[in-house]
């Protein structure tokens, strides 16, 4: 091949464009089952099997009892129900998969079967389901009916003032649980106290945890600051478990210890943890996770934080990894565990991948859709950035509204949030002063109230926080001291809220599966069970809840559009006067171009979508006509508001046979008599990006068409803006104002135009 046949080209530049996309920052791993890189088909995944003898399990998933590792032993003893094993294991996996998506098979029946299934069997069954079937089965199988959500509340300075403000903010948005952790581990007590105080502002009953070293976490719970824990991690291979410095028995002991203190607890497990820890045994993500989940049920914990978690980015790099994350969440709820369903550690730099990942959970609902939605900015998230963060919180609110799906959050207004943040900062400052832990000044407090993130604050630094934290710990300050301090300083409602929460631990009601507190009541899988048996059943938005979800910031209505327009009316009257001259007749001047105005043009609407004054637009079009030697005549039509018909009607009256149709929003057309309505000469449909120069060129071209001269059509360049998304709600409202002024058979009127004063901008010199 000669060189010229290459045209000197060695790369399609689209690849350059693609290289620049955030997606290309993501890693993708080839399937490599021998090295643990397989979502559902590990090279060492066993076929499911079980043998029983005398009420005990003698073989499980191809391993004889005397070869069981600690995980097998624990599952065989505490998960597998010998009375159910025979029936459950005998059912073909494909048949069980169909039962999972059959709305006529009740959840309870499937839960009973799961308690007789081995990890390999559970994995085999869910592997039969495609992603949509998994999402559907998840919606059917999850334990509590009402969906919820969990927030991370942390910051890069461990600043207690900001923690209090951000905890109160998260509570206002409706998170059922908030979780904090520290940059500096000895700041745990300060973080716990600050979030505890913040979470008491505005509403009672938000559960709170402080993720820290196991023994300290339990002590913080004992001091009454926290109400749940979820950092009790389990792993799917023995060696990973040991490297995690625990065994199923030590973790189960810890689970009982948390229960004994009235603290809600769930375990954590997730795909790819074993791969990250180097002991995957060449088994698939799904099979290892099925082991983790059986083990958690066996331990008697009420729930799990599951679905990748820290391993989610690695799982997402593998073919089918995201489907696998959904599948492991399904196994969790099928086993009847509460599921805080991941959607936590940010698994991609691509916002599209993140949005796609959340959708099944948003529409299916989940006990806690995110097991850590970053309510703070990414850089303030001490766990690492979440899938959704403070930056994207409004995107999530809109997703709820789009799908009429309850993602657990509620939009809040600016004034409301500002006053909540003030209240929280005042409350924590009062507690610090009462307990001699510090006395933050107004500058510190003000900077925190306004701060979007810790880079905006002039408040405590991590080292100062360590002293506060040490004080709380050494002086054995408890939640009772905090309640007293709040009350003494007039924060009675917050004192009440905090006391309400700590009293809840006496009954242990929130230890049951999937418990959260709503409206001052514990709801859980016991008293709010998910009972889905087809359309109309299961969780549905109430009219009240739908209205809450709908009320996002910046909704438009016609009144709002008219109000905005009216604010321009006075200025416009300084620029232009319209005189109605009487019924318009067909002109005889062959240089004449009629400019047809829409019904609301200059009467109720005064600027284009690009923001140009309509006076300036008319002046520009008229100037363009004049530049090419034409004569402009203005006519108002009220029989139509449609651009094409405005243009064609204008052309019909025009002496030259060429007319321009112009809507108030700025959409314009050049038309010619005798053409079909929608077969115009030129159309300017992108009003939001149409400039006055374009309107002037439109006037010029109209004259050139009339004179039969060469015409270079005007092209309004776009940069690919989603103009429909940006403008169409307003367009529809504006257009309804135009059509509302039309009447059938209305006679066109000649309009005399007087330009007053000067042009306002965008004009030629």
């Amino acid at each position: 091949m000669s060189k010229s046949e290459h045209f000197g080209v060695n790369r399609w530049r689209r690849f350059d464009d693609w290289d620049e996309r955030p997606l290309r920052l993501d890693n993708f791993a080839k399937d490599d089952p021998r090295n643990g890189f397989s979502a559902m088909n590990g090279s060492n995944d066993p076929a499911s099997s079980v043998r029983c003898s005398g009420g005990s399990i003698t073989e499980m998933d191809g391993t004889a009892a005397d070869e069981f590792d600690i995980i097998d032993l624990f599952i065989a003893r505490y998960h597998l129900d010998p009375d159910r094993v025979e029936e459950a294991m005998a059912l073909p996996s494909a048949e069980v998969a169909r039962m999972l998506v059959d709305m006529n098979v009740p959840r309870e029946r499937l839960v009973r079967l799961a308690h007789g299934m081995t990890p390999a069997k559970l994995a085999e069954v869910v592997a039969h389901l495609n992603a949509m079937e998994i999402a559907f089965a998840y919606a059917k199988m999850r334990a509590r009916a009402t969906p919820g959500n969990q927030a991370h509340v942390t910051n890069a300075k461990d600043d207690p003032l900001q923690l209090a403000a951000d905890a109160a903010t998260a509570v206002a948005f409706g998170f059922d649980e908030i979780e904090t952790t520290m940059r500096v581990s000895r700041n745990a007590w300060s973080n716990a106290l600050a979030c505890c105080v913040g979470s008491s502002v505005g509403r009672a009953g938000t559960l709170f945890q402080c993720s820290s070293e196991e023994a300290e976490e339990l002590q913080i719970g004992m001091a009454g600051f926290t109400s749940y824990a979820e950092t009790v991690s389990v792993y799917g291979t023995e060696k990973s478990f040991i490297d995690g410095d625990d065994t199923p028995w030590s973790k189960a002991f810890l689970a009982a210890a948390y229960a004994s203190r009235g603290i809600k607890m769930r375990c954590t497990s997730g795909a790819a943890a074993e791969l990250l820890m180097g002991f995957h045994e060449a088994k698939s993500l799904l099979y290892l996770e099925a082991r983790c989940l059986c083990m958690q049920r066996a331990m008697g914990v009420q729930g799990t934080q599951n679905g990748g978690i820290d391993g989610a980015p690695l799982a997402s790099s593998i073919t089918g990894g995201v489907r696998e994350l959904m599948a492991e969440n399904l196994i969790a709820v099928w086993l009847d565990l509460e599921c805080a369903s991941g959607n936590d550690a940010r698994s991609s730099e691509s916002e599209i991948r993140i949005g796609a990942k959340i959708l099944p959970f948003l529409i299916a609902g989940s006990d806690l859709i995110c097991s850590g939605f970053g309510s703070i900015l990414k850089y303030d998230n001490s766990f690492n950035p979440s899938s959704f963060n403070g930056e994207e919180l409004e995107d999530y609110l809109v997703l709820q509204r789009d799908f009429e799906a309850d993602g657990g959050l509620t939009p809040r207004g600016e004034d409301e949030l500002l006053s909540i943040r003030r209240r929280a900062v005042d409350a924590i400052a009062a507690v610090f002063e009462e307990l001699d832990l510090g006395s933050p000044d107004d500058d510190m407090k003000g900077s925190v109230v306004a701060a979007s993130g810790s880079q905006d604050t002039r408040s405590y630094l991590p080292g100062e926080v360590s002293d506060i934290s040490g004080g709380i710990s050494e002086r054995c300050i408890t939640v009772l001291d905090v309640i007293r301090a709040l009350h003494t300083r007039g924060f009675v409602e917050e004192a009440e809220n905090l006391l309400f929460l700590v009293k809840l631990r006496l009954s242990g009601d929130y230890l049951q599966t999937s418990a959260v507190i709503r409206g001052g009541h514990v709801i859980s899988a016991i008293n709010d069970p998910n009972a889905y048996d087809g359309p109309g059943s299961g969780y549905r938005l109430s009219a009240e809840r739908r209205a809450e979800i709908a009320a996002i910031r910046g909704e438009l209505d016609q009144r709002e559009v008219l109000r905005a327009e009216a604010s321009f009316a006075a200025a416009e009257q300084q620029r232009i006067a319209y005189r109605t001259m009487g019924p318009a007749q067909r002109g005889a001047d062959d240089s004449e171009v009629v400019i047809g105005l829409s019904p609301a043009f200059g009467t109720q609407l005064f600027r284009t979508l690009a923001g140009h004054s309509l006076a300036d637009v008319l002046r520009a079009v008229g100037d363009g006509v004049a530049e090419e030697g034409g004569t402009a005549r203005f006519v108002r039509f009220t029989h139509t508001a449609d651009t094409s018909f405005l243009g064609l009607s204008a052309a019909g009256l025009s002496g030259s046979g060429v007319g321009i149709g112009l809507q108030a929003k700025g959409t314009a057309v050049i038309h010619q008599r005798d053409r079909l309505p929608h077969n115009n000469l030129e159309l300017f449909s992108n009003a939001p990006i149409t400039t006055l120069d374009h309107y002037r060129a439109l006037g010029r071209n109209a004259v050139r068409y009339a004179a039969g001269r060469d015409v270079e059509p005007v092209v309004v360049p776009t940069n690919g803006e989603a103009l429909g998304a940006r403008y169409h709600a307003r367009v529809a409202l504006i257009y309804a104002i135009e059509t509302g002024l039309t009447s059938d058979g209305a006679v066109p009127q000649d309009i005399g135009i007087d330009f007053l004063g000067k042009q306002t901008g965008g004009a030629r010199p």
Partner: protein, 142 residues
Amino acid sequence: MSKGKLGIDDYPLAEKRPETVSGARGRGLDDITLEAVMAGEVEMADLRITAGALRAQAEIAEAAGRSALAGNFRRGAELASVPQEVIMEIYELLRPGRAQDRQVLHEAAERLRRDYAANDMAAFVEEAAEVYEKRGLFTFRY
């Protein structure tokens, strides 16, 4: 209160059976008020769950078909009166490589049984000792 087993209709206990709920010193829900807190009458022990409440939750969990969860609540009930430092000590012993032989775990189990009547938990720790020996976990780790 009847002697019969509790069921899901008794849940939540704080609302359906508030008279059965009290703190570790016997103070009832109605007596834990803001006024009492301000008067210094409430201690952390009054905010501590009792073995009785955990057994009640175990009955409710059992009634809801969650026997594994009920088992955890019963073990929790046994630990309700065990001091924090004892709990942390035994937890530490159960972690891999902490105990050098099964005897140490058997002693911990005996302590749970003798001092706190925590029979289920004791059996659980003994079972761990057996498993750890079988899987070679009584080895030095650090």
